[in-house]
Symmetry: C2
Subunit: 230 residues, 2 copies
């Protein structure tokens, strides 16, 4: 029974990694659609978002089943809760990809403008944050998770700079406002992706620190309330 | 013991309602700060966000303790998971309020512009979505939750209209671009608040439908996996 529970925890982790891969791919595709102005890639993003939403519910249900299955230990509980939270963040990375894809569609109505911001670079940074956060999760590594938190500042700065640059451009060349505004929204979406990677890292830290707390459980109950466990 | 568990579930619900009240107040304050251009209200929003973040962690810990305390029934499990998810959404409503407050601070550098969009109206609609979603949660009422989902379309439309109106304005009067852009970002933040209310409603539906599933549990195990429970 306990063995089967451990196997189920592994399955859950595996599924979350699939979810992460899909979310990351969605962002890559959306940015590729932006780069080459190809709405057929947007269609892929939109279909992918539906699959991501389905997988989110599936992972939630698995987590629920695991909690119902038997009385998980404190460390397993924290792990399952971390999965539930990371799952929600990954789903919203999918939403961000969808938002970017919507913007690319809108851009089709306007001539291509050479804008002074580097969207692909921002995307690559945000994407690597998601990857690193998931790596921290796989390896239960709070230190790696902390490096993600510091990367968030860089993305915020890039987004702030993009905001300023595009605002200046819109004032100087109002005819480019639609293109600049769409790029600005894409930049904001990428900043949100970075925020989700940050949330994931915080959840990993919460989970791993919980593991540390648990090591002290031999001496005394973890908290007042869990002290009543048999 | 069981009685104490029920009492703890009630405490958890109570705390989540406090969290909801704080998130709602944060939005109201941020919009008031925008309306009267008063950055001292922004300070309140910023301090409030820290309190919201603290309460989020506290609620998560309570939920974790409850899961650890004893083996909750399927319906209680779903309830606790719904709380964890709603909690995360409320925290992000607080983030949205903070974003709006940041925009209000930026706006101080520019002359007041009379913009052709009704931010307070959008805020009131988004706020009422949050309230209604929480009402659905308190009353375990999936139908009320579903009305919130339909309200989301109205907010999306208002946001879309604001986007178009402000884009047109920026093209025609480039000198108003900073003000229009900030208003547009505030409109987007309010749309996100509405999205969070939508997420909360979906979680309520997930929880309540879980309750329905549970009613059938007398005949057979709820799922393959929970069938192994004692």
């Amino acid at each position: 029974m306990r063995l089967r529970f451990r196997q189920s925890l592994d399955d859950l982790k595996e599924k979350l990694l699939v979810m992460a891969g899909m979310a990351e791919q969605a962002i890559q595709r959306a940015i590729e659609a932006y780069r080459v102005r190809d709405t057929s890639i947007c269609d892929l993003v939109d279909r992918g978002e539906l699959a991501i939403n389905r997988l989110e519910r599936e992972i939630d249900q698995m987590a629920l089943d695991l909690l119902a299955m038997e009385q998980p230990m404190a460390i397993d509980l924290r792990f399952i809760l971390a999965v539930i939270k990371i799952n929600a963040d990954l789903e919203r990375v999918g939403d961000a990809a969808r938002s970017i894809s919507d913007r690319v569609r809108e851009l089709q109505a306007f001539p291509v403008a050479d804008l002074p911001i580097d969207i692909p670079r921002m995307a690559s940074l945000a994407g690597s944050m998601v990857r690193k956060a998931l790596q921290a999760f796989i390896e239960a590594d709070a230190q790696t998770a902390e490096t993600v938190l510091s990367m968030d500042d860089s993305v915020d700065k890039l987004n702030g700079a993009a905001h300023y640059t595009l605002l200046t451009l819109m004032k100087k060349e109002p005819n480019l406002t639609p293109q600049a505004l769409n790029a600005l929204m894409i930049s904001r979406s990428l900043e949100r992706v970075a925020d989700h990677a940050t949330n994931i890292s915080e959840d990993v830290i919460f989970w791993v620190r919980g593991a540390d707390v648990r090591h002290k459980m031999g001496e005394k109950p973890a908290t007042e309330k869990t002290g009543t466990r048999s």
